[in-house]
């Protein structure tokens, strides 16, 4: 250390301090930062500071073949990668006018819902850890690992599955997979009362999370909040039901909502959504054996695949919110322009800045985890 670098400087007298909250901080989710100004332990101003995970996805995708991009897109959101590849594949299919076989659509829903359960387990475990309760986090991570085992069996990859290609999916379910899935779902179902006892009825959690970081419904709509964070303000909007894609219109599920819109409501919505996802997966287990047919539509030589010129917009419901993919093709072998409308960039920048202002510094981590923002997707 050089002493001359740390000489005292003349500052105007003030009770306010500026603190870098992240990127190297145990309370921050991923590689993300907040610059906060505190008065005592109350935050008077905050500024989100992203860009630590920027890789330039939209530019990288313009330099790769349509089929190569499949391997790239799941990396946009690490905890919940499945919706990315499904949405990208759907956008390419829309450009080509490809019809996806029905069985492939069922398999895609299977993958999406498995991914949603895994992401939600991870999230409310993380939220519990930020309030000082590490047991739900340990349990959440352990239970998520059972789902990752299923992913590995189905797709070959634990986290990044790269299971979809434009036109369908890569492989069918292995023998006995649905029975094992059913066993795992029964297990996770039986664990939920434990989670309730440990977390959702725990006075420590309820006292800290209730009333923290509230959003009203009008604010949520103004700021582009989607997904569980929007449903926690009382509005039952879900792309799966209101703009059905794949085979969601044949499935029976509810849209859980809560009124207050605070951290507690957001996490509770995720817990209830997990139940609904299990319900959807049980319906898939029942109905998938009855859906026969191919799992992939024939596509031209993928290394010289010229997708017809045009533009496509696809939106699906990821575990973080509404995910949109806008893809433009100029008829060449590579995309002309790609844009991702990720849910997290709205949640982690303007909403987070607003919510942490006025709260206490120990609640910053909690608010960030309750918003379930995904930093790699914010920066892309």
């Amino acid at each position: 250390m050089r002493a001359e670098n740390y000489e005292a400087r003349n500052h105007p007298p003030s009770n306010e301090f500026e603190i870098n909250f992240g990127p190297n901080h145990p309370g921050i989710e991923g590689n993300y930062a907040l610059k906060v100004k505190v008065h005592g332990d109350e935050i008077v101003a905050a500024r989100a500071d992203g860009g630590y995970l920027h890789r330039g996805f939209e530019k990288l995708m313009e330099q790769r073949l349509w089929i190569q991009n499949i391997a790239l897109v799941p990396r946009i959101c690490v905890p919940d990668p499945a919706p990315m590849e499904v949405a990208y594949s759907m956008a390419v299919e829309q450009l080509c006018g490809l019809d996806v076989p029905v069985r492939a659509q069922w398999l895609r829903v299977l993958q999406l819902e498995l991914s949603r359960v895994a992401a939600h387990l991870f999230t409310f475990g993380g939220h519990a850890a930020t309030t000082g309760m590490y047991t739900p986090m340990f349990w959440g991570v352990a239970d998520r690992d059972l789902l990752l085992d299923l992913f590995e069996e189905l797709t070959g990859g634990r986290v990044y599955s790269i299971y979809n290609i434009p036109g369908g999916v890569r492989r069918d379910v292995p023998d006995g997979f649905l029975e094992r899935l059913s066993t795992t779902l029964d297990y996770i179902d039986s664990r939920l009362p434990d989670y309730d006892n440990l977390l959702f009825t725990n006075q420590v959690f309820v006292t800290r999370a209730k009333g923290t970081g509230p959003i009203t419904q009008a604010q949520a709509l103004d700021w582009g909040v989607t997904g569980p964070n929007l449903r926690a303000t009382g509005l039952a909007f879900d792309v799966r039901r209101d703009d059905p894609y794949l085979v969601y219109d044949e499935l029976d599920f509810d849209i859980p909502t809560e009124q207050p819109g605070d951290a507690w409501a957001r996490t509770l919505v995720r817990r209830n959504e997990l139940l609904q996802s299990i319900r959807i997966l049980r319906q898939i287990i029942d109905r998938l054996p009855g859906v026969a047919g191919p799992i992939r539509a024939p596509i031209p030589n993928p290394l010289a695949w010229r997708v017809p010129a045009g533009e496509a917009y696809v939106r699906i419901e990821s575990s973080k919110g509404e995910l949109g993919w806008y893809v433009v093709s100029d008829g060449s072998e590579k995309p002309h322009r790609v844009h991702v409308r990720g849910p997290s960039s709205m949640h982690a920048v303007q909403v987070l800045e607003h919510l942490v202002t006025g709260c206490r510094i120990e609640d910053v981590a909690q608010i960030m985890f309750s918003l379930d923002a995904c930093p790699p997707e914010v920066d892309r």
Binding site: K37, A45, V141, A142, V159, Q219, P376
Partner: protein
């Protein structure tokens, strides 16, 4: 190639001169290395995708703590810097600051293919491709992303290396500071500086060598100025909380 040529070249340890004569010194060194390898703290800093496989590796299923490894929030008290995945240029600046803050001996593990050669993002304008250019890396765990078993195996390998006295990457940073600083200046600009005085630390650890100084350290001394107060651009124009 003659028999006495060794590859990779082994870096001479500062304690090795005393080893031949003094039995107590040798026993003490070995004991220190053994104890050091059994109590490792990983800095809690997740740079990229690979961080998603660390919670499973740390918690009950794979349980890193049975090896004496646990996370640590402060760089001053941490032993291992895990670089989990791609590092963008903005992150790499923070990583360098963090690395220089850590107390020696310190170990760097590069997890994921991106730290080896750029991986998936080999053509990205925003990421640093080879971590080896900017700091000495003791161990790479390849894969995109490596499974928790691979992470645990890598950490056990690092424990072995430490016990045998082979994980000496941190000494290389002091011995060849000019080389690493040159690569950092190429990426971050000529005015790049950190608050840590690496040259003085190299002298302190008795690792000051002919390659510690060079034209890049000269450039550093030329540009060096006392650090200014942090400009956070968070003045009065910060967004006010909307009353609702």
């Amino acid at each position: 190639m003659t028999d006495d040529t060794q590859f990779p070249v082994k870096i001479e340890q500062p304690g090795q001169v005393a080893q031949g004569g003094n039995v107590f010194s040798r026993v003490f060194d070995e004991l220190t290395a053994f104890c050091r390898s059994r109590s490792l703290f990983i800095l809690h800093y997740c740079t990229g995708c690979g961080a998603i496989e660390l919670p499973p590796a740390m918690t009950s299923r794979f349980d890193m703590e049975r090896l004496g490894i646990s996370p640590m929030v402060s760089p001053r008290q941490a032993d291992i810097l895990l670089i989990t995945g791609y590092v963008s240029v903005k992150t790499l600046k923070r990583v360098m600051l963090t690395y220089e803050q850590m107390g020696s001996p310190k170990y760097v593990i590069g997890i994921c293919s991106c730290t080896v050669n750029g991986g998936m993002y080999w053509q990205s304008y925003a990421t640093a491709k080879k971590l080896n250019d900017y700091m000495p890396v003791d161990l790479y765990i390849a894969g995109c992303m490596p499974r928790p078993e691979a992470v645990i195996t890598g950490l056990r390998q690092l424990m072995d290396n430490i016990a045998k006295g082979e994980a000496n990457g941190w000494q290389d940073y002091y011995r060849r500071y000019d080389y690493y600083l040159g690569n950092q200046q190429r990426l971050f600009g000529e005015t790049w500086q950190t608050p840590t005085d690496v040259i003085a630390e190299a002298k302190h650890y008795d690792l000051f060598g002919p390659e510690t100084l060079g034209k890049h350290t000269e450039l550093l001394l030329q540009h060096q100025k006392p650090l200014e107060a942090l400009e956070m651009r968070l003045g009065l124009d910060a967004p006010e909380k909307v009353k609702s």
